[in-house]
Symmetry: C2
């Protein structure tokens, strides 16, 4: 871990330290989202092979209530938690529809201009 540089003025030093923490959390969020989409991709296959519809409003309303309660517990705005779930579910349904209609999900094409190793 790189400590904040002491030669910076206090405000900028605080900002640097806070941004390092935010960057660490963002890396964790991206990896968790990647794992979540691996699971929802499997759900998509199970649904497609069982002829189940891509969206499931009953399941979604249980998820929303649960996430709102977890948000309150952790002092996150429950309305934001709900918006966040809707944002992810919209992407998941889009994937499920693609699996159902084409039997495939889009695979991210690596961008040769970006070297993943340099982001560590």
């Amino acid at each position: 871990m790189t400590p904040p540089r002491p030669e910076l003025p206090p405000g900028q030093r605080d900002l640097l330290s806070l941004r390092q923490s935010i960057d660490n959390i963002d890396a964790a969020l991206v990896h968790m989202l990647a794992e979540r989409f691996k699971f929802t991709q499997e759900v998509g296959w199970v649904k497609a092979t069982s002829g189940l519809p891509a969206s499931d409003p009953a399941r979604e309303s249980v998820q929303i209530a649960r996430l709102r309660a977890l948000a309150e517990e952790s002092h996150l705005d429950p309305a934001f938690a709900e918006k966040f779930l809707n944002f992810i579910v919209a992407e998941v349904i889009h994937h499920h529809e693609q699996i159902a209609s084409t039997g495939a999900v889009p695979v991210p094409v690596p961008d040769p201009a970006v070297d993943p190793g340099s982001a560590r």
Copy 2:
């Protein structure tokens, strides 16, 4: 941990197990987001007291490039990772503007109809 119920048909059993994993990931995501907003709230105070603007396009473009690289590494669609960051940053800027104009951020009001303990 509750194992999937063996008396269910295979497709439904798979779905139940996958959804349990998705629910675990979602709880972790909500808690990480709560922690992220605690840090960005502090950034908001530092910015407001230093007279810095709420948004910082240079910082945001560095964050986008980094998250896209992390997304590729973890097989998440980089375009989705960028959309996700934009979604969060929009909420953060909204909070920063509220801190700058009113000196306060909205505090989630607990909903008495929801018992957080029941969501565990």
